[in-house]
């Protein structure tokens, strides 16, 4: 499991960030991003994932906490996002303040 600090990903461009995440997941890691991805970035990640799907890599599981409104409701603050290989993640369940992942042996 890779726990990525917000500082690490904030220095990356959007596409660089998504490639970094997808490479980690394709290597079999669960990637946890402090600071998370925006819904636009998550949509781009889904699109990027679909270009990489093959017989060995069926895709990803992803969940996260919803964005929070920032100062004067002007800026959305993203929060933690968890992304993992669909092949090993049996389920990911989210409750209000808790994300649980059930992992199966490869």
């Amino acid at each position: 499991m890779d726990l990525i600090s917000e500082d690490r990903i904030s220095s990356m461009g959007s596409m660089e960030k998504l490639r970094f995440v997808l490479e980690g997941v394709k290597s079999g890691n669960i990637v946890v991003l402090e600071g998370g991805l925006t819904s636009e970035e998550q949509m781009k990640l889904i699109e990027l994932t679909m270009t990489e799907v093959d017989e060995e890599f069926p895709g990803i599981e992803m969940t996260g906490y919803p964005t929070k409104r920032g100062f004067l409701n002007m800026r959305r603050k993203t929060r933690l996002t968890v992304i993992g290989p669909a092949k090993i993640m049996r389920t990911m369940k989210k409750e209000k303040d808790l994300i649980s992942a059930l992992i199966s042996a490869v």
Binding site: M43, I46, G59, P66
Partner: protein, 182 residues
């Protein structure tokens, strides 16, 4: 517009149909008391009672597509792999269409948990773009359907319970489309 079967990802290409007309006006004029919200004396309501749309039926979004899932429905391995490949292209196609639409009717299964990440991502995207979203809570003909769960999950958007299979409550969906997209 698309074919519906038990096999997942049956719609693997976006289908566009231009000039679809929702005409609620004639019905309302025939029976003006049928719905108080659509009194034909209201000019604004009359204007919204007829709506011309270009409709795009897109494949559903997914974060994973495993060809083994298709084999569980009796498809041969090669056919399953071909379908999986087409399904991935369909998801990309659907995402690209989001750049070019004015409103979304998001069809959700009322018997399933609405808090899927694809639903959350899609609605988050539409909200960020300022695109109108109507949620059609489908399959209300099934005994375990709970459209209220969808209403609770996404209270910021209108949710219309329907059964596409039985044609139940489709008028309400068309009325909402005419009201929101007009």
């Amino acid at each position: 517009m698309g074919v519906s079967t038990e096999v997942p990802h049956e719609t693997r290409r976006a289908v566009r149909r231009g000039g679809v007309i929702i005409d609620l006006k004639s019905k309302l004029l025939q029976n003006p008391d049928s719905h108080p919200r659509h009194n034909p004396t209201s000019r604004a309501e009359r204007a919204k009672a007829k709506l011309k749309l270009d409709v795009v039926d897109t494949p559903g979004l997914a974060t994973k597509i495993d060809f083994h899932e298709f084999m569980a429905y009796g498809l041969e391995e090669e056919e399953a792999k071909r379908r999986a490949k087409e399904a991935t292209e369909g998801v990309i196609d659907a995402i690209k269409w989001l750049d070019d639409i004015d409103g979304v009717v998001l069809v959700m299964d009322s018997t399933e948990d609405p808090y899927t990440q694809t639903n959350i991502v899609l609605i988050g995207n539409m909200e960020a773009r300022g695109t109108t979203v109507i949620i059609a809570a489908n399959k209300v003909d099934l005994p375990d359907a709970t459209p209220q769960r969808i209403m609770n999950a996404f209270p910021q958007h209108p949710v219309i319970p329907i059964s596409a299979l039985k044609g139940e409550n489709m008028e309400a969906l068309y009325e909402e489309m005419a009201k929101r997209f007009g």
